[in-house]
């Protein structure tokens, strides 16, 4: 049983990385049953079934893929999908974006911020601080709607 099968004596074993398996493989090969011959009529019986039952190979499918396996229908679907997603995102952006400011309003805010910053850099005394505090009060409590408070505080700032 442990005698190596002739097949493996020349080192041509199917799995030479595992020499421990050789006794097992030799045993299997030595004792595997011989292949029984087919019944004499098997071949004719098979051919008769194919002919009489009118079996025919299924028609060859049309190959919609390119040589590199690219399916153009899938590519087109992916393209349409991406375009739809992009259009949808743009629409959402437009719906949920904050309302825009006019150029004049932006310039007014910018000049106010610059003036406030410059003021903090100047040397201060008690009177200046008091004036600055008054200005801040006007800015924090706008007089009216739509930026009227900002206009008022700017007026105080220019007087000082």
């Amino acid at each position: 049983v442990t005698e190596p099968h002739p097949r493996f004596r020349d080192g041509s074993a199917p799995d030479p990385d595992e020499p421990d398996d050789l006794p097992l493989v030799s045993f299997l090969k030595a004792n595997a049953a011989d292949v029984p011959d087919p019944a004499p009529e098997l071949e004719d019986r098979l051919m008769q079934v194919i002919r009489e039952d009118n079996l025919s190979p299924l028609p060859v499918r049309r190959n919609t893929r390119t040589r590199h396996g690219l399916d153009w229908r899938k590519v087109a679907l992916i393209g349409v999908g991406l375009a739809t997603v992009g259009f949808g995102l743009r629409q959402l952006q437009q719906w949920f974006a904050p309302p825009g400011f006019s150029t004049a309003e932006l310039a007014q805010v910018e000049s106010f911020m610059t003036g406030s910053w410059d003021e903090t850099l100047q040397p201060s005394d008690a009177a200046t601080d008091w004036n600055l505090l008054e200005t801040r009060v006007h800015v924090s409590h706008p007089v009216g709607a739509s930026g009227a408070g900002v206009d008022a505080s700017l007026a105080v700032y220019s007087q000082s």
């Binding site: 799995d15 045993f27 194919i50």
Partner: protein
């Protein structure tokens, strides 16, 4: 006694092309060229009384599927995959059949009555292969008995080569365990 025509000299590809054009006789050439390997593969998965029927089923499935076969794929790999499917289906059916178990016991008793030692070992190998799962049994049959390269086995079973090696490893371990239980240490 009738004399049969010689094996078809044309290539597999040419015979397949002829079959796809409706030439049933071309299929005879494919049958003769590959039937022996299919038989030897299936005989380890079934009992001898059903071997011819299973071989016929394999070739009938092959005939019906020839139209779908891609020209560049290798016919033998494709055919052996059909054989594997037919053999595995058979084993699943038989695993559910108690009547078959009784039939196998009868068969075992019959063969062990003559030429005791050799037949006992043949019976052990046969039962050992039945002891394995379908996947493990096929790994042993194709690698150890049919001596196919593992890359070819991977193509037939449609699995990675690493999986073939893994199945082989576990199958051999299970077989050793089975044989040891039966009094044969390998």
């Amino acid at each position: 006694m009738t004399t049969k025509p010689p094996v078809h000299p044309a290539s597999d590809a040419a015979l397949i092309q002829a079959c796809q054009n409706g030439d049933t006789e071309a299929f005879r050439g494919l049958y003769r060229r590959h039937q022996r390997f299919v038989r030897s593969m299936l005989q380890h998965l079934c009992d001898p009384t059903t071997l011819d029927d299973l071989v016929q089923e394999v070739f009938l499935r092959a005939w019906k599927g020839l139209g779908r076969m891609r020209q560049e794929s290798q016919f033998s790999t494709w055919l052996y995959r059909i054989a594997w499917n037919v053999g595995a289906d058979y084993r699943r059916r038989m695993a559910q059949s108690r009547a078959h178990q009784a039939q196998l016991s009868e068969f075992s008793a019959d063969v062990s009555s003559t030429a005791w030692q050799d037949l006992h070992h043949q019976d052990l190998v046969r039962r050992g292969l039945q002891y394995l799962s379908d996947e493990q049994a096929m790994a042993i049959v194709l690698n150890d008995l049919q001596e196919l390269p593992q890359s070819e086995i991977a193509r037939i079973l449609d699995i990675p080569v690493g999986t073939v090696k893994s199945r082989l490893f576990h199958a051999r371990a299970s077989l050793r365990q089975f044989f040891k239980k039966e009094g044969v240490s390998l």
